[in-house]
Assembly symmetry: C2
């Protein structure tokens, strides 16, 4: 592996816990928060892939609402349009995983430029990062919206290209970090060295790619990068 000159993180599920929404779901539908969150997240991902393929792009925030609407229909939950919008807005207040603030500070102290590359809109990414008070950690907040005119989501190569262009580094010198095995596979296929964050003992996807490194939390990243930096 080449020396790593910058680190690019996925946002949803990697730095920030998408299941932060469980408590709010539970408040509306007691005891069903985790089930709602699981179906909602699965459909959110599927709709990003399907709309990219269909050529029917919609912003991530709209897709988040559509996925929640599907979830309510399937689980037979009554939700007014106002509640649906309110619950979808919880995605802008999701929390970073416990070890993330410390790990980012440590990596930044090593002089590594850090960035986020996310399916979210530029506005959503800024909102989530600012809500958690972590703005000063990042040199770049990059959105699929920055892939000019392409209108697709990850794992389309046009999205990963955004990071390569904005960081102005060859892809082989940019470490891509994701908890989503499909995203890690897409980034690896694009040509980034990849670290898969496997907090929950998940199974890696069989998409013809293997991560270069696996950690169980971001706090393991600095120790791994230090020798080759």
């Amino acid at each position: 592996m080449n020396p790593i000159k910058a680190v690019v993180f996925d946002l949803y599920g990697t730095l920030y816990d998408v299941h932060s929404v469980v408590a709010r779901c539970d408040a509306l539908f007691p005891g069903r928060g985790q089930e709602i969150s699981n179906v909602w997240r699965q459909k959110q991902l599927e709709y990003t892939w399907l709309r990219s393929l269909m050529g029917a792009y919609a912003p991530f925030e709209d897709i988040t609402e559509h996925a929640l609407r599907y979830t309510c229909n399937r689980l037979q939950l009554m939700l007014s349009d106002a509640e649906l919008v309110e619950l979808s807005d919880e995605y802008s207040r999701i929390e970073p995983f416990r070890e993330v603030p410390g790990a980012l500070a440590e990596l930044q102290a090593m002089g590594l430029p850090l960035a986020i590359l996310s399916n979210g809109s530029a506005r959503s990414i800024r909102g989530v990062v600012s809500h958690s008070g972590l703005e000063s950690r990042f040199a770049h907040l990059l959105s699929v919206e920055d892939a000019d005119g392409v209108k697709v989501f990850k794992p389309h190569p046009a999205v990963y290209t955004v990071a390569e262009q904005k960081l102005n580094l060859p892809r082989t010198e940019i470490l891509f970090v994701s908890s989503n095995a499909w995203d890690a596979s897409g980034a690896r296929h694009f040509g980034f060295p990849v670290c898969w964050v496997n907090r929950a003992g998940n199974t890696f996807e069989e998409l013809g790619q293997k991560p270069d490194h696996i950690v169980s939390g971001l706090d393991e990243l600095a120790d791994w990068l230090r020798p080759c930096h």
Copy 2:
């Protein structure tokens, strides 16, 4: 809706029951057949979408094997490479749904050209159809492989275009029939009139499309088409 001049069917899950593989899975892992089949099918679909987006096409039959390998890893099932290939081959012996042979005969008797448009390879489609003795019902067996050089799966418009070109009819006169709500949505977005086959009381996807008609089995199709044919 324009008069319908031909009917194009999805294969996997629409004409043929992908969960026909449950019995074979159960024989290998008693009591776990349905669980294995569910994860396997879900991953098979995800991998067709993800590989299309990544630009890393692989034939559907290879993806079926990859998805089974993932399933075994995740469910911690031991399967030799030979058993894995053997179990994947079950997909070439899946059975039509109970009402399908009669429904196809009835539609054919109305003078409607019938076709299949599937993610499978031309060889797989022929194999499945011939194993069930239904070859004489179809005017065309169409594969994603017929989308010259495009190397993507449904719901990419390039795949639906194959049916329009081979049937030599405007898309508005071709009824597309699928049990897969994401496929029905993709076909509707492409411009086909669409019938969704909802045998199991599923929830339609929220992808900005609605089917033109919904049936609970293919035996309801002829009665619906007769008045406008």
